[in-house]
């Protein structure tokens, strides 16, 4: 517990640095939020009034201190675009993005690890070479292109999977508690919504997961090959442990250590990738919200999103450390 607390405290300076960098970058922008705020037909005086009203005519340092003070009280301000509290909008969208990225992560792990193990077991023979080529291709494919191709094939040509959105329009989403449709629908025993939500998440999650599958497969493969050359594997073989059992239980646990450390990095990549995927599949998550904020120079939203992603990063890193400690007893003592 103290470990988590210490890690959380360590993350604060980084988050602060992140805030400074983002704040500076946003405020050197030529785009004037006051113009956006005033709307299409506003006059110059109207714009000036709005600039004053939002404190946009204050020196940068003043604006920053004011902002940090607000953030410290968990007040992220109002969106300059929609005039709504940023925190409300962001929290409302977070479950959609979390659901998408978590499903993608599960998919990446559930497929990436076995692929990596199989490749390692057939080291340098054709299954290995094929899987290696495929996994590199998985990292090389442009997400936006893959998403469009999947849409064209599975939604338009075959009509098997929905084109867009998170749930068929008009279908009522179950009320809470998690906001994750797949979980909530099961909790409410609503199979219609579950099937529908599942059908909707397949394509975006698969698009998002592909790079992750490839990455995890690569690290697992390297990990298995490394572990296989270790003495304890020799010993286990010499004491007659069945091969499949040896690999899938004993070798795998050692091999996923490296892959697990990748998952932390991967999660950041998934969040970033969701910007593209959400826009193509009309997924109502923070990725789309972010793009909108970028297009409208909505600085409060951009700052909050950056902070949120920073916090998610920190949390994921702590979780990664915990997962590694759960796998490796030696790490547990080192803390």
């Amino acid at each position: 517990m103290s470990f988590i607390l210490r890690r959380a405290l360590l993350a604060i300076p980084s988050l602060f640095g992140l805030l400074v960098v983002t704040f500076l970058m946003i405020h050197v922008s030529p785009a004037d939020p006051a113009t956006t705020l005033a709307g299409d037909n506003a006059t110059a005086e109207q714009i000036a009034r709005i600039r004053h009203q939002y404190g946009l005519d204050q020196p940068l340092a003043v604006q920053f201190v004011r902002y940090v003070a607000d953030v410290a009280q968990l007040d992220f301000g109002d969106s300059q675009y929609s005039s709504r509290p940023v925190a409300t909008d962001l929290l409302g969208r977070l479950p959609a993005t979390l659901e998408l990225t978590l499903v993608a992560l599960i998919l990446a792990t559930a497929l990436g690890i076995p692929i990596g193990v199989v490749a390692a077991m057939h080291h340098n023979r054709w299954p290995d070479i094929t899987l290696r080529l495929l996994s590199v291709a998985g990292v090389a494919v442009a997400t936006f292109w893959l998403a469009i191709m999947l849409q064209m094939f599975f939604s338009m040509r075959l009509g098997w999977l929905p084109l867009r959105g998170r749930l068929t329009d008009g279908l009522a989403a179950p009320a809470g508690p998690t906001g994750l449709l797949l979980v909530d629908s099961l909790l409410h025993g609503d199979l219609t919504v579950f099937t529908d939500a599942f059908a909707h998440i397949v394509l975006p999650a698969a698009t998002l997961a592909l790079g992750g599958i490839a990455t995890i497969a690569r690290f697992t493969r390297a990990g298995v090959l490394d572990t296989m050359s270790r003495d304890f594997v020799q010993y286990a073989r010499a004491t007659g442990t069945p091969r499949q059992r040896l690999i899938w239980i004993y070798v795998l646990r050692n091999s996923v250590l490296a892959a697990v450390s990748q998952i932390g990095l991967l999660f950041g990549g998934l969040i970033a990738g969701s910007v593209v995927v959400e826009s193509i599949f009309d997924w109502p998550g923070i990725g789309n919200y972010t793009v909108q904020a970028i297009l409208t120079a909505d600085s409060k939203v951009l700052l909050a999103v950056t902070l949120l992603i920073g916090v998610i990063y920190a949390v994921v890193n702590i979780l990664t450390d915990l997962a590694q400690a759960a796998i490796d007893p030696r790490l547990r003592e080192r803390r």
């Binding site: 304890f232 073989r237 010499a238 007659g240 069945p242 007893p329 030696r330």
Partner: protein, 320 residues
């Protein structure tokens, strides 16, 4: 005399790697009777470990048995499939004690899990846990109950080796192969482990093939010994005979190097030949002080030089 538990003859093993073919074992022959302890002695790199791996059927990648026979209790091990070796021999009838007990245990699993895994695969049905605890007490491990819940790195070196000795005994094997089991330990611990091993052999009636580079350990522990040089078996015989009356020039040189024996600092001139470029014939010939011109042409084979005492040297060719 009953049939030997281990009978190896004419064994040749090579490793096929990127750089070429390394003929690691060139001519290995030995017989080990039931309940006896045999020390297998040689410098590092002479092929001792490869020999053990060959017996257990876990040769490294590219390893290939070119010729020869390994009979274990009359069964031809080289003819067995990997699956059969796994289910009938390794861990079940041949126990194994590795060189470095720290590296040999998976650091991520509890010791209990790992030892019970071996029993799960091989031991007769029954209360494995209780039997394991018995064994741990037998190898004098403190707090056996707690030990099962601990991880490998939480033990001292000696304790770990005791664990692995217990592991080798779990299935009451007819043969235990120990690969330098005391090398990684400090001298006092080494003594305790050796005494323990000797007691256990006497008690359980298992045979022990004890691989080491330490002649002192052999002298103290083993009934018989075999000397190996660059993949060739050069001398075998009862420990006392061989030590008292070494017949092969290499054995003599080795004994001369041993600090207990030699009066001054002595060493064998030259180096062990590289695995990829082994000399023909007798591989010791290039370093042998009494080599003859015929040595490089000699096909290796052991010659009887005394009661149960053999050596592989051109010197005894005529005497035979």
């Amino acid at each position: 005399m009953s049939a030997p538990i281990l009978d190896v003859s004419g064994l040749r093993v090579s490793i096929h790697g990127e750089a070429g073919v390394a003929r690691i074992l060139h001519h290995i022959a030995l017989r080990l009777e039931r309940g006896r302890i045999m020390g297998l002695v040689g410098e590092s790199g002479c092929g001792k470990s490869t020999f053990i791996r060959t017996i257990l059927g876990v040769l490294a990648k590219g390893g290939r048995v070119e010729s020869g026979r390994i009979a274990f209790d009359g069964i031809d091990l080289l003819a067995m499939s990997d699956r059969a070796m796994n289910s009938q021999i390794r861990g079940r009838r041949i126990g194994f004690i590795p060189q470095d007990p720290l590296l040999a245990l998976n650091p991520l699993f509890r010791v209990g899990t790992q030892l019970l895994e071996i029993m799960r695969n091989h031991a007769a049905p029954g209360d494995h846990r209780a039997r394991l605890l018995d064994l741990l007490r037998r190898v004098q491990l403190p707090d056996p109950e707690g030990a099962l819940r601990r991880y490998p790195h939480q033990f001292s070196g000696g304790q770990r080796q005791r664990l692995l000795i217990a592991a080798a005994l779990t299935c009451a094997p007819a043969l235990i192969v120990a690969d330098e089991p005391t090398t990684a330990l400090d001298v006092t611990t080494q003594q305790q482990i050796l005494i323990l091993l000797k007691e256990l052999v006497a008690e359980t009636g298992t045979a022990l093939l004890f691989v080491t580079h330490d002649l002192g350990v052999v002298a103290q522990t083993c009934d018989e010994m075999a000397v190996i040089y660059a993949g060739q078996m050069v001398e075998t015989g009862p420990t006392r005979d061989v030590l008292a009356n070494p017949r092969h020039p290499y054995t003599r040189a080795l004994l001369a190097c041993h600090p207990d024996r030699s009066t001054g600092f002595a060493s064998i001139p030259g180096t062990v030949p590289p695995a990829l470029h082994m000399p023909p014939g007798c591989r010791f010939a290039p370093r042998c002080p009494i080599a003859q011109s015929a040595c490089p042409a000699r096909k290796p084979h052991l010659l009887t030089v005394g009661p149960d005492h053999t050596a592989d040297c051109i010197l005894y060719e005529t005497a035979a």
